[in-house]
Symmetry: D2
């Protein structure tokens, strides 16, 4: 097996140590020889801290992996086998603005959902497509694992506007597998979950433990379910769950419990304590830890950051591809008819068979109306968002935002859009 | 041409004089011999007033039409050629409750849209299906023209759960034709409109006057558009219209201008002056007029009631069917693939070719995402509503209401549903 | 109403006098001022004969129409309002080869069906697309009425590869209307036919006379049906018709009665008396008639040619478009979902609403399997034929021909293809 | 793991020793405790021979498996975990008639394709559905593995008309995997094949060996391909293969090389040496071998019978289900949108993920027209065949047979149908 060159774009992220841990643990199996960490000059300080920590981690593990940190993205991409994108255009500063502008206008402010996610998509997609141009040129055979949020929308943009072999990845599905394995005391391979949906909007329509359905346990509250750290922990009403007939994911709370969440966010906003503020604080603490020359492994504190098992999801996927295992992973891929009530060319998050040469979604049957309706309207919003981000067309952007279920009127969406476009001017060449 | 027996179920409605005027004017052309007005004993007083007025109208016109008012629905239906349903289960009293309960819980209260329309559907569908059972037995060849609101949902219930030849009819489309004909000074036959949508949620995607597109006039505000009397008259933002690329109908304001309308409704609610209150007042005034023995024609005041041209829509349709004209009407029919992003078996409001033996929708092309998303989520809500109304299943009812874009959370929908089911107990045998 | 310029490409056809008769009869109604007859230099003699006859016909009718015969296609197309294409690339000589090569290899030889129609499509499509390039440039608002066979395939090529406003026209449907009107002694407007299919492969799934179904009459042989002059007149087995549940068109005999027809063709072939031979003979006789300076109207003999009512179909369509009548015509248009078991972008022959600005198919419901199977395989053949004709790709041509139900093996299709490509070398620049 | 009861309906088949060999080899892994062999009294002699041989095989292997041979189907089915159906209604005698009647009428006679397969379906489906009724009652949790031919049609009948958890199984796919593994000297797990199609009509659209595409090898003749023993071994023309862009299966020869095969069959027919004759001869020889008391294992000669690896396919599938491996098998299952150009409710043969609780097809993308056309027409024929077999409706049977690409005319299909229905009268209660 020829050695792997793995490149992380956005390598200066506080998440990188988690990823590196997974890489080190699987170095032998996968013959990983080089890990390139790329970032932009604005992120120099963070990249440098991560570089040092990474090298200490590699050294401690006595691993032959070569760590390269660079601003030269082309050089990093060149002939890579696997590329991971985890960029944040405008950094946490702009994320904070996404949240604050949203809440100020009385709508939910969130990193990937609603007006916040919309704005992040507009900033991110042009940059990601630039990266894809380089991959097409310099590493056309590479698999691109995109973690960049909003992962479903960003992946859809890549699927529609490049030839890169992309897979959208989220840590949400793996957390369900992990949680259920733990709850039922079984190996993760004994957990089988039927999902319907798109990134950050997936419903669990069946859960099997060793071939036995356990959905009823969940719908009647007998089993605990996974709760993402970054989402308010209001529990589900059991009558509602049973009438739905499936388990919504955490992000569904923004849709099903809009008023409760909005109320909570307004409080946090008034105290300058939104999630963005919290993440800034956590990140600062993490980098303070990372600087410590005695730290030679991933610190525990990283788990608070919301990205649990994100490394494991990535490494498992690379293993499946590289070793051609034909295993099932839950990924963001081109729909291609797998969910027949959605267009063929959009991204969906669904169970896929992973082979070295292709990743193919498993067929999903009819989607019940209670799921179908919300799924279709949010996907239509996402399609428009991709189009707006690529074309820089303000009228499409206005329609995208207006269509979003969390925006209560065309007037409101116009106001929010205007303020957001102004605040993000620097990051939106396509709109000028 | 053999003589026509025409039956009006809900004949005691204040709208009947308008319908009768149309019938009288076309008596000769269509050879209408009998008009049966059916109502329930609770509506005896109104039916009696309408019966008298109808007879005076017929007499004044020296028309041979025989007017029969009755509570015997079976007798009325028997061997009818055309049956019009314009019933209101629970009368205006329950409509008022629909609106008040909605607004009290902070959501829009409206006769056909949102929680109000939902509740009206649950009350109405069982009754309409009882009527259909009788039509299947006693007048299987009759055409049923359903005006009963929410007309799209009620028509869908009939299409899915009976063999009756039903057409759902609304005065919304004809008002657009009339208005554009007037604006451009042309005959109504020179106006051609491309609609996409479902009842009370139709978008005008093209307007042609004598074969020339005039859509731009509308989207740039150069042309006035039709405004229904019963919908708040906030105008459309022109930027929004142009970004949408089509003209929404009046009922779209509930979706696109939710916050403005809700604010207005809260004011009206606090003053006990909702639309239901207004309609009760108008209706009382109308019946006072109708009682006057000197009144021998439809009074002008009826036009305030919101049902402009409703009679003309019905009579034109009966003419097209009866005379086999193959003309185009905008009707609520089984989708059957005409709008390919919606299921085959749902009702859609669309242009149809009307023949004596069949009514066939004209094919609609791809639906742009900004229209598709909202259309699909509202239709999924309607499908669940039909199912809830037919089965009396509370969990489906809860999902229907939660899915509606005007309901901001699952908790809210649970509270509203509970209160509405209690208030409507008497009218909901299927839920007990 | 501004005056119409009408252009006939392939104006030297023996069919032109029929068309001209229709034009003259409707000159006043439509204000037709100029008729341009275009042909190629090889057809000079025929064009000249037609030009003279046309002028005599116009003179006799004292019509103000100006007749222009020309080889200058660009001049003719320029600013035309309606353009009719009735070209025959390679003339009757090549049609004869189409038939002879087919039969020689033991398969049915026919102008539009099977190997013959396939070859005609390969010759014709590049020429038609050249014409379309000129129309796009010189008369972008013109409607193109394409009669050129195989009309469905040629129309599909135009729909897929140009922006011209094209309608494919065949005299098959109008003949059914005419025949049924005559059989039942009613006006043609009282005849309503539900068709499912594509050009030369349409099934009549319902027939209504004044709104009453008469399908049973046909399926039980109580009513005569239209028989095209150019198709062998073997009758349908009534058991077969009833099991089919609908009436196939004449061209279906090539599929349903393959062996009988093939036997007959083999006889004719051995005697040098195929349909192509007969048409050459008829055409010669017609031009002999046309030369006669005393002939000032369409001669009766033209009706043997197989194109009955073709003029009426064209003129009626132009009337409907020009006068914006919203009438129903049976035309070849983009499917766009009207027949849901076929792709959106193919041509289908179906009932359409004709307006000045658009021609829209009427929705067809589910297609029963006995119709669906044959329809789908022939359409897939047509899609490949269009692709082969446009790209000049021999491997696609081989697949197209092999897929055709009348070709019994891949080996046979390879032999036929080879011989046909050689025989047509001169007309197939795209394949060299 | 609780012990498995496995039931073989049609246990007296000459194939049983092969199956038993697989069962014995996997007894420990799967804890198989009982194997029930069911047959009908007419097959007593064969069942008895198989029973004895089976017991000798078990004894030799010192396996604890209990062999039960019985005519009591209900007892055998009761509480089975896995049921295998490999029945042949009318035995080889009727298969011979299927072939002879077909060829006599000048069409291909084959066990599963064309008129022969059609007739076998009509005989088999009622019997299989009787079995399914018993499974629903006596072993509702059992998985039914159907090998009974025509396996695709029979499986579709079960899917449409019962609630049994059925999987249709054919040895065709596994033979491709085996052959390619051998050709490329790799483990079968390193072979990945993309199939599109239905039973006995599958195209290989991609072949990957260890993640590298090897399709080109096949299409250019560089790699040998699997050739079923029971299909004439005419090779593929390489031009044809390359133009097709995929590898057809052996049964495709009946469609693509119809005339060659028909010619060969006519010769064999005249010499009384059709495949049915050969199979009768082979079967006789096999049973002569089986009778030998010294035979204690599957004889080599069985491999000539055409069912190579059929046991392995079955046992591998049972292993995957029972051990919940989530592996990929190529199976006949409900389409459910996996092949979007076919109806949802038909059977397709496709790659599936096998889990203990569900078997789910992997999504297939767009089907190219050269494959789509033939696939759709044959599937429509199959749908009609299922309907004819279930309803006993002769008119549907006539349409089914007429639609089949191997039947050259409606007249021919009528004659064949009549003769076949008469010859099979005893086996067709539904048609009387």
């Amino acid at each position: 097996m020829s050695p792997i060159k793995l490149t992380v774009i956005g390598g200066g992220s506080s998440y990188t140590p988690e990823l590196l841990e997974g890489i080190i643990n699987n170095q032998v199996l996968l013959n990983i020889s080089e890990v390139w960490l790329v970032d932009i000059p604005e992120g120099q300080q963070k990249l440098s801290i991560i570089e040092s920590l990474s090298k200490r981690m590699v050294d401690k593990a006595e691993s032959p992996i070569k760590i390269v940190a660079t601003f030269d993205r082309r050089e990093a991409i060149k002939e890579s086998d696997y590329i991971i994108t985890q960029i944040r255009v405008g950094q946490l500063e702009m994320r904070k603005k996404d949240e604050y502008i949203s809440i100020k206008h009385g709508v939910i402010g969130q990193e990937t959902t609603g007006a916040g996610g919309f704005m992040k998509a507009l900033r991110t997609i042009p940059e990601i497509l630039d990266i894809c141009r380089e991959i097409e040129e310099l590493a056309p055979k590479a698999w691109l694992l995109n973690f960049t949020n909003p992962a479903g929308i960003v992946t859809e943009a890549i699927l529609k506007h490049s030839n890169v072999k992309v897979i959208g990845l989220c840590n949400n599905p793996i957390n369900y597998y992990k949680k259920f394995a733990k709850t039922y005391g079984v190996d993760i391979r004994d957990v089988s979950i039927n999902f319907i949906g798109i990134n950050h909007l997936i419903w669990i329509t069946e859960l099997y433990i060793k071939g036995q359905s356990r959905l009823e346990d969940i719908l009647t509250g007998k089993s605990d379910v996974y709760e993402a750290k970054n989402i308010p922990s209001f529990g589900w009403d059991l009558d509602f769950l049973q009438s739905l007939g499936s388990l919504p994911c955490g992000y569904h709370k923004y849709y099903y419990l809009t008023d409760q969440i909005l109320e909570k966010q307004l409080e946090e906003y008034q105290q300058n304590k939104t999630r963005a503020d919290e993440v800034q604080r956590i990140e600062k603490e993490l980098f303070d830890l990372y600087k410590n020359k005695n730290l030679k492994e991933k610190p525990k504190a990283l788990e608070q950051r919301g990205g649990a098992y994100y490394s494991e999801a990535a490494i498992n996927l690379i293993k499946s591809i590289h070793l051609n295992t034909r295993e099932i992973h839950t990924l963001n891929v081109r729909n291609n008819g797998a969910i027949s009530c959605l267009p063929d060319d959009v991204s969906v998050e669904t169970n896929c068979v992973v082979e070295k040469h292709q990743i193919t979604p498993i067929q999903i049957g009819a989607v019940p109306p209670q799921i179908r309706g919300l799924l279709q309207v949010v996907k239509a919003y996402e399609e428009l968002t991709v189009e707006a981000a690529v074309t820089g067309n303000k009228t499409i952007a206005l329609q995208a935002l207006t269509l979003h279920p969390l925006i209560p009127s065309a007037n409101r969406s116009k106001e929010i859009l205007q303020e957001m476009l102004t605040a993000n001017k620097h990051y939106l060449p396509q709109f000028s």
